[in-house]
Amino acid sequence: MSVSLSAALLEAIHAYGARAYPEEGAGLLLGAFEGDDRHVTRLVPLDNRFRPESRTRRYLISPRDLLSAEDEAERLGLEVVGVFHSHPDHPARASEFDTQWALPVYSYVITQVQAGVAVESRSWRLAEDRGMMTEELLQVSNTPDAEEA
């Protein structure tokens, strides 16, 4: 159980989280399902649609945004394989709220942004019984993918 992406993409996820600080920044991970692993080759950064006053602790990707990202993925021969979002001044650990809202199958990459600086990213997946999110291996490669955004 792992999610792999290039160092450049992880860098872009970190930059997006830092830019959104002190709010949470989120987007979708496009790529391919490879058995129980996911390989991310493209990011779709999206607006945080949660109520403005709660965006420092919450993010929301609207169904319309998801549909257009799915269309884009289809055009590129990819699939939506997961979600990335930042936790401002909070660890890169899936919270109870993350678990309640999590969908199966997707990989959830969470980035801790401390005082505006991205510290670390960890990836999580919803357990089959919805009881918790379990951490999966986040594999970062130094070889960039040709189709990277």
Binding site: E24, A26, L28, F50, S54, R57, R58, Y59, L60, I61, S62, P63, L66, L67, E70, E79, V80, V83, H85, H87, P88, D89, H90, P91, R93, A94, S95, E96, F97, D98, Q100, W101, A102, L103, P104, V105, Y106, Y108, Q112, D129, R130
Partner: protein, 251 residues
Amino acid sequence: MTTIRIPTPLRPYTGGSKEVDVTGGTVGAALVDLSARFPDVRRHLFDDAGGLRPYVNVFLNDEDIRTLQAEATPLQSSDRLMIVPSIAGGAAEPQGVPVDHAALRANQASIILLLVAAFILNATWLVAVVALVMLTGTALGRPGFLWVYLLLRRIGLVKPDVLRDHPQPHRFAQGLGGAFLVAALVAAWLGVPWLSWGLVWLVIALAAVNLFAGFCVGCALYYWLHRLGLPGFRVGPLPSTFPGQRPGNDR
């Protein structure tokens, strides 16, 4: 027959199908029929109380059913339903309140220094002074030797170290230390010096464990009493922090 479009993350539960034909006179009935055909999909659509999970959006011919009659919206056979999740999440709400751990450490250091001095000088009166300061601090809900900290901070020797934490266990721990010292004074008055100084050294040891190892035994005791449901012990340990351990504040 109505066709429902299944979102990607739920397709493994519908045998990989992107679209599924279901029957039912209303949107709610169609969703129930879907879960009857594919039981594994149910827990991702409905919560334990049988309501739709908050992230489940259902569109009837591109219109959100919340703007129609929700799950009671009637269906025609040519209708097309689409389940599209909202994706949401976010960090846990911060727990506890700002607690200056530098002030707590200055308190522990003062207690240790004065009690060791009391032992060396065989000065029971100094033990009484420390006990009084600790119990007064407990009554006021602050470190007894707060003034030492404020002085050290003013001359630039210490910096604040504010962490989100529960202040109640620290107050309890200080009160417990004060109570041990009172017991030590009683033992001295009864003429049992080994017990008296033993209790003093116990307080020194507990303060030292807190100061040097970041573990507050009194706080751990508070959290255990909280777990047992003792009245007055209202707050439980911070998430992912071992009871009594200094909060890493999210690390």
